[in-house]
């Protein structure tokens, strides 16, 4: 059997990526990395915590999910009528795991032996669901502990409080794992319904990286999928509530046991949902440059704040762009959140006046390029990020080219458009009584 593929060359990274289209409509990517001991594979579906209301064409019926189903399903796929899937990987010397984000669920293994067999196990267990009343009930206890662990996690709490402040309706404001109450509503039937929709190969992709021969991987995947006789999948229509441009609330404060207050300012991006493909990625790169130019360690503001003991080395600014939501967050631990807030807002206004110098822009561009190249040491980074970018219609390998295309003027215009003070919120964790 031969499978058709095309290759994607990247001159900067000096890498060749092999792309296969496997029946019934699944993308498979293989990146050979000679000399690596480890081989890493991920099998990922476009099903995340925000996909909580959907229908499949031509059906009219809409399914509305309690919060936390995608993550719950991820846990439950690791168990089937033959027992625990971790054991199967362990017998083959592999290390397996999975994670759920806002937009996708990813199953993975890494191994240094028995790659073909491990890949079979990955493909098999993800394609063979097994949910019963009893196993669902037990998982409610385990995930309950996971939720409780995150309740004590200041970074996690400050992040979700910020999203809650920014969004009035969009499900990105909800914790990925849901709540103890919402996961109590999950049943085997509900899991099967989600499974049949989102775990169809046409909604999934595989990325494999390591010292591998691409064609043999292509054949293995094709041979695994072919006998399963998938029916074609109708278009999945994901339903999202209309999100107003306005934020939800100005300020969210929570008490937790922390040594210093943890503080972030968040800005809601109201344009991002209209952008696709390269335009979306262009915005992401411009925002990364812009934020680094204003808040980065090589600039005056960071060094002033550090000298005034207002921030520590973890202070930073970050932008996230998905296909239908986007936000910026700026902050970190601080002794005085009011003062830090004021300094951040003043800095943004000042940047509009000061502008960006050519030297600054070029220096930060070099930094982003070098950091990008360095991260390609990590097989996990490559695979995980490639599919995340792919699922939002962008291409991780496009970054060096886009980085050359963007200019200072574009970055400056985003300062006005995307960091507008009438769409910001703050999130603060204060240290309560430690006992």
């Amino acid at each position: 059997m031969t499978v058709s593929f095309k290759t994607i060359e990247n001159q900067v990274l000096q890498e060749t990526l092999y792309h296969y289209r496997v029946d019934p409509g699944m993308d498979l990517y293989v990146l050979p990395r000679p000399g690596y001991e480890k081989k890493y594979a991920i099998f990922s579906t476009r099903f995340g915590s925000i996909d909580n209301s959907f229908r499949v064409e031509p059906e009219e019926e809409v399914t509305v999910l309690p919060d936390g189903v995608a993550h719950f399903l991820e846990h439950k796929l690791f168990e089937d009528d033959r027992g625990n899937v971790f054991d199967r990987f362990a017998t083959l010397g592999a290390s397996a795991n999975a994670f759920t984000s806002f937009t996708q669920t990813t199953y993975l293994f890494s191994c240094t032996a028995n790659f073909d067999k491990n890949l079979q196990v990955l493909l098999d267990f993800v394609q063979e669901p097994y949910f019963t009343e009893q196993t669902v009930q037990k998982e409610q206890g385990i995930i309950g502990q996971e939720i409780k662990m995150y309740e004590d996690h200041p970074q996690w709490r400050v992040f979700f409080n910020l999203l809650e402040g920014l969004y009035q309706k969009h499900p990105v404001r909800k914790d990925i794992a849901g709540t103890i109450e919402s996961i109590a509503q999950i049943t085997p039937e509900l899991l099967y319904r989600c499974y049949r929709t989102f775990y169809h190969p046409a909604n999934m992709a595989v990325f494999v990286v390591g010292d591998l021969e691409p064609d043999s991987v292509g054949e293995l995947v094709e041979n695994n999928l072919a006998p399963r006789n998938y029916e074609p999948l109708g278009t999945i229509v994901r339903l999202f509530p209309e999100e107003p441009e306005e934020i939800n609330r100005r300020r969210t404060v929570q008490e937790l046991v922390v040594s210093d207050p943890l503080f972030f300012v968040g800005f809601k991006d109201t344009v991002v949902g209209k952008l696709r493909g390269r335009e979306l990625m262009r915005r992401e790169i411009l925002m990364e440059l812009l934020l680094d130019i204003i808040f980065g360690t090589s600039e005056k503001l960071y060094n002033e704040l550090y000298r005034e003991n207002l921030i520590d080395e973890d202070f930073g600014a970050e932008y996230t762009a998905e296909y239908n939501y986007g936000f910026t967050m700026i902050g970190g631990e601080t002794r005085d959140s009011d003062l830090l807030y004021e300094k951040i807002m003043v800095a943004l206004e000042k940047s509009k006046i000061d502008g960006i110098t050519a030297e600054q822009f070029e220096r930060h561009r070099r930094k982003i390029l070098g950091s990008y190249i360095r991260r390609f040491n990590s097989l996990e980074f490559i695979a995980n990020n490639f599919l995340t970018y792919r699922f939002r219609g962008t291409d991780l390998l496009d970054l060096p080219a886009l980085l050359q295309e963007v200019n200072r003027g574009e970055a400056l215009s985003l300062l006005e458009e995307n960091l507008s003070s009438d769409r910001h919120t703050v999130s603060l964790i204060t240290g309560g009584d430690p006992r």
Binding site: L13, F86, A90, D260
Partner: protein
């Protein structure tokens, strides 16, 4: 698979370890300065990298230094303090993209080495002291870091347990020292301390990348040419034989949603011990993997925890079990854990458990060869532990481990401290053993 560092000694006695490797996109340079972990020295040691990193003679402030690194295509300089057994290591690492992916005139390696050499060896000095404002600022930051341990509850509980367990040993010292240790440190004293350790203490320099050996040695020789004393000081070996009289039970209160259970053990098996491989397998069978006894019984069967695992401190020969549980489940969780310890000690280990654990360990060891940082830390571990364990030898050793070896290790293992961190209303965790 075989990977080796070429060893060189620079003319001033600094050890240089170089691994030519074309497999990575980067050039990695690391420098480690070792000293004994000691209550009176920990804060001084922790301050040195922080202060040095804030500016040196040629790049006199953080902004200037960061701009220099950005122009080297975002080369990343990171400093850290490591605690390896009863040794404190001052770590300086620099990673750059390799010149083959950049338009860099072929000088990025030398330029990066030069920056690192400046930061470590050519500090910004005011008379015979570091600059007072830098020192005060970094004292503040380190005190903040120590207090910040509280923010990560699992790490906090682990650190509390180990410090209580080893309260009378050097190992009980936190790697950054105590808050009160910083109060009286003077800039003159800190500079004198720096001058002493930089000239007398063991100093190891690592380079990994697709580079010419001659170039690496010559560059290192030129840049790290500072004068050193004739004889490098000998550090004190880590003590692994502290006896346990009785199991300590400690319960502390903190407003947490999830209780943290930490159990500390002494294995009396140090880094050079012939049973080292058996210890790795023993700990792995108990709690190193998702197939391990603790994960299967505490999480998968009883549904009491999201995480439960073992970890080893191989220099000091300690093993720690950690779990996040509901405080009310403490007694049940503890019973299940004790049962797994007893079963393992009695050799009740299936062939599948033994085989899966060995394969899992081998997979981890081989995977580490794909990261320059791990290649460096593997070799550094050998320097600290007084014995290199080449990957091939470790793997062969692990393959040979049988039930008798594991039972022999288990026989040595003594429970020392049970630590439970829970909220006041958390209920029934109190002194029931």
């Amino acid at each position: 698979m075989s990977v080796d560092f070429f060893n060189h000694q620079l003319s001033n006695g600094i050890k240089l370890y170089f691994m030519p490797s074309g497999k990575f996109k980067t050039i990695n340079i690391a420098l480690f300065l070792h000293q004994d972990l000691h209550r009176d020295l920990a804060a001084l040691g922790a301050l040195v990298p922080s202060v040095l990193e804030k500016g040196c003679r040629l790049y006199p402030d953080y902004l200037t230094l960061q701009r220099r690194l950005e122009n080297l295509f975002g080369a990343e300089l990171s400093t850290d303090i490591l605690k390896s057994g009863e040794r404190q290591i001052l770590s300086f690492m620099l990673e750059t993209a390799h010149g083959r992916y950049l338009d860099d005139n072929g000088t990025i390696f030398r330029d990066a080495m030069f920056v690192l050499g400046s930061v470590v060896g050519d500090p910004l000095v005011d008379g015979n002291a570091f600059r007072k404002d830098y020192v005060e600022q970094e004292k503040n930051q380190l005190v903040k870091d120590i207090r910040g341990l509280l923010n990560e509850k699992a790490a906090y509980a682990l650190e509390r347990c180990l410090s209580l367990m080893c309260a009378d040993e050097r190992f009980g010292v936190y790697k950054l020292g105590r808050v009160e240790d910083y109060r009286d440190i003077e800039t003159v004293e800190l500079y004198r301390f720096y001058q002493k350790i930089i000239t007398e203490n063991p100093l190891d320099l690592y380079v990994i990348g697709d580079l010419d050996e001659k170039l690496v040695v010559e560059t290192a020789e030129t840049i790290f040419s500072g004068e050193r004393s004739q004889k490098t000081i000998e550090l004190t070996p880590t003590q692994v034989d502290q006896p346990v009289d009785e199991v300590k039970f400690i319960r502390e209160e903190l407003a947490v949603n999830q209780a943290k259970l930490i159990i500390g053990f002494r294995t009396y098996t140090g880094f050079q011990d012939p049973l080292q491989c058996a210890l790795l397998v023993y700990s792995g069978i108990l709690g190193g993997f998702p197939h391990s006894k603790l994960f299967m019984k505490v999480r998968e069967e009883a549904g009491l925890a999201y995480y439960v695992h073992t970890r080893l401190e191989r220099y000091k020969g300690l093993m720690v079990i950690s779990a996040g549980i509901n405080a009310k489940d403490y007694t049940q969780a503890r019973e299940i854990i004790e049962k797994q310890l007893a079963d393992t000690a009695a050799g009740e280990i299936s062939d599948v458990e033994l085989n899966n654990t060995k394969q899992g360990l081998i997979n981890q060891l081989l995977s580490r060869l794909d990261s320059p940082q791990h290649l460096i830390s593997n070799h550094l571990e050998g320097l600290v532990g007084g014995r290199q364990w080449p990957v091939e030898e470790l793997i062969a050793g692990i393959k040979k481990v049988d039930r008798e070896d594991i039972m022999a290790v288990a026989k040595r293992v003594k429970q020392d401290t049970v630590y439970l961190l829970q909220s006041r209303e958390g209920g029934d965790g109190k002194n029931d053993r």
